[in-house]
């Protein structure tokens, strides 16, 4: 099944979940939980917290599936957003004081996440626009997204002044937006 078929299937499954269909709910879990868990793990850095984020995301899906509107676009992006917000909330609440010395071994620092990103079919437009950013800024943006780092955590991690981090991110987002809207 390619990406588009999966997305269509997911949109249909979400409608079934909105009607209380537990089989559809389970199916979404079977197909997407591993990706959602991986995302949550990168952001929370601790297995129990990552599991909590996925748990909360699925509860939110169960309760709010009726609010998903197909016209919002790709339903996978919706799922990814739900789990990221739950993970970010948990990570920010915990302050991630253990972040630096308690990185679980399963979470390897990919040398360049863009290499993997390139293989995703859905990401062609984003990829092309990211490629137009300077390499340092692009890596900073992907790092911030994947690890869920705050402005100040990015600054600390990259040993850069906070103001520089903020302005890099702001300009990168502006460039991305111009590029993506230009690309339609």
């Amino acid at each position: 099944m390619d990406g588009e078929e999966l997305s269509n299937e997911l949109a249909g499954l979400i409608r079934l979940v909105a009607a209380g269909h537990r089989g559809a709910f389970r199916r979404i879990y079977d197909v997407y939980a591993a990706q959602m868990h991986a995302i949550a793990m990168r952001i929370t850095r601790q297995a129990p917290l990552a599991a909590d984020a996925v748990h909360d995301a699925f509860l939110q899906l169960w309760r709010n599936a009726g609010r998903f509107d197909v016209s919002r676009g790709n339903p996978e992006a919706w799922l990814i957003s739900i789990v990221r917000y739950r993970a970010l909330d948990i990570a920010r609440r915990r302050g991630r004081e253990v972040a630096e010395d308690d990185i679980p071994e399963q979470v390897d620092e990919a040398p360049d996440p863009l290499a993997q990103l390139a293989s995703s079919r859905d990401s062609a437009a984003l990829n092309a626009c990211l490629a137009q950013l300077e390499a340092d800024r692009r890596r900073l943006l992907v790092l911030a997204f994947v690890e869920g780092l705050s402005h100040s955590e990015v600054a600390e991690r990259l040993k850069m002044p906070l103001g520089t981090v903020k302005s890099w991110i702001r300009r990168s987002l502006q460039s991305l937006r111009a590029c993506l809207e230009g690309a339609g």
Partner: protein
């Protein structure tokens, strides 16, 4: 990215992007969420960023969640009633890791969890007879299908339900399938209401129980109901299909003899033959 309601300033496009990227601190995230709730155009900008940035998440290789996670999710989302199994989806091939064991948690913990969740959601509901009737019919279906097993698993003595045919009803909030009270009517006219969740009654108010026989047009008052439940005695056992409902009333019960406040739980009695 913006829509035609009003143009979203560049500054807010960047803020929405920072929010979706995940670089904001807790206070900033809260402020963004508050604004998004009040400003649909801004919310749409956030959605657009979510769509655009989500492919970055593919940079993370999948990592299967712990085996026990599905059971937790299932328990937390379980309906209070045992529903007939969903039609199995015609399943297409899935990665082997995705085919986990299907753990069915025991009913009683699920019931408690569901009931606990139901309590804070006992939302207020303007009294509307037609809606109540429709709701009670739906609840009745659940009660008849489910409660025999439920009664026994709840530790209700078998004689109570199993002897001569008693009747039971799960009393549900209007917007949920999680029971707030279990009602059992005995042939001798005894009706026992047991709270299945911690029911919070707004201060300065009482719960009042009402009964509406099949074909009846106006419910009759059965008195104030403590949040933990109570036992009451009727001249005879209510007929099958009798609707029970609980409304929120001024202290001491409705002054008019009819429900004046919102109906927070309702259900329809049905035979519970074991």
């Amino acid at each position: 990215m913006s829509d035609d309601r009003h143009p979203v300033p560049e500054e807010l496009h960047v803020l929405a992007g920072e929010y979706v990227l995940g670089v904001l601190d807790v206070a900033e995230m809260r402020a963004v969420r508050r604004r998004a709730m009040a400003d649909p155009a801004f919310a749409a900008v956030i959605t657009a960023w979510e769509q655009k940035l989500a492919p970055m998440a593919n940079a993370v290789p999948p990592l299967p969640p712990p085996e026990a996670l599905w059971a937790r999710i299932e328990e937390a989302t379980a309906p209070v009633a045992l529903e007939p199994e969903d039609e199995p989806l015609r399943s297409r091939p899935v990665a082997p890791a995705a085919v986990g064991p299907h753990v069915e948690p025991p009913l009683v913990p699920r019931l408690r969890a569901a009931a606990a969740r139901a309590a804070p959601r006992a939302r207020l509901w303007p009294w509307q007879f037609t809606t109540f009737a429709a709701m009670a019919v739906a609840a009745g279906v659940v009660a008849v299908a489910v409660l025999p097993t439920l009664g026994s698993r709840l530790g209700i003595p078998p004689g109570l339900i199993g002897g001569p045919p008693a009747q039971v009803a799960a009393l549900l909030p209007p917007d949920s399938q999680t029971a707030g009270f279990l009602a059992e009517a005995q042939p001798n006219g005894t009706v026992m209401l047991t709270a299945l969740s911690t029911v919070t009654v707004p201060s300065g108010h009482d719960l009042e129980l009402w009964m509406l026989p099949p074909g009846g047009t106006a419910p009759s008052a059965l008195g104030v109901l403590p949040a933990a439940g109570r036992r009451l005695t009727l001249p005879q056992m209510p007929r099958a299909g009798t609707q029970l409902m609980i409304s929120i009333e001024p202290p001491g019960g409705s002054p008019t003899g009819a429900p004046t406040g919102p109906v927070v739980f309702a259900g329809s009695l049905g035979h519970a033959s074991l």
